[in-house]
Symmetry: C2
Subunit: 123 residues, 2 copies
């Protein structure tokens, strides 16, 4: 069945959540949002572009930092209201220079940092 | 640092997206939503409870099907507006009886089912 982006269930702001997962090791890197335009750009270029809710603008991931995400495969969930992006991540995904944005774990009721910023990488 | 759920950034509906990931193999199983109450119940019981936006009620995952999610570790992203639930999933996570809700992949412009429903499991 040909993929029709209009068949996705964008929310009332025209957005859909997109989870980026490292294609090679399965690590969940980040969650951000897409609109129809950013999804189209992602599919057209093979590089992930999100929609920045704070800037209200397209957000070509890694455009300034070089920490780009190359799309390996797009997956859609059963409700068609969430996307899973299987990516190859260059450098850290997180703006804190950590590999993943999910670097804080709850252990015994305490927040614990389980990842350190990568040395030598720029934000 | 002790975890304070009030420090999370719930959206204007009081919700936060929660990604469930298989702790053993890294597979992303589903994405759903939590509010403060469902998160508290999840942490208290060790079993994942979401918030159903359609039913506007707590949704104890697997309560009727038996396909429960046992929480191994909760992780929080850098912006504190998304949760990653590392879980042990009993049976399929998806209501279609597939292991993951992300069973549709986009390949060469076509939607392709990459997972089959598990035999013998109930919804």
């Amino acid at each position: 069945m040909p993929f029709d982006p209009a068949s996705l269930r964008f929310d009332d702001r025209g957005l859909i959540p997109a989870i980026a997962q490292d294609h090679d090791n399965g690590e969940v890197l980040m969650m951000a949002w897409m609109n129809a335009q950013s999804l189209a750009k992602t599919l057209e270029t093979g590089r992930v572009t999100y929609w920045s809710r704070s800037r209200n603008a397209l957000w070509a991931k890694g455009e300034t930092s070089g920490n780009v995400q190359d799309l390996v495969e797009l997956r859609i969930d059963c409700d068609r209201d969430c996307l899973l992006l299987r990516v190859r991540q260059t450098g850290p995904a997180c703006h804190t220079n950590r590999r993943s944005c999910f670097y804080t774990a709850l252990r015994d009721g305490d927040e614990t940092e389980i990842m350190q910023p990568e040395p030598g990488s720029s934000t």
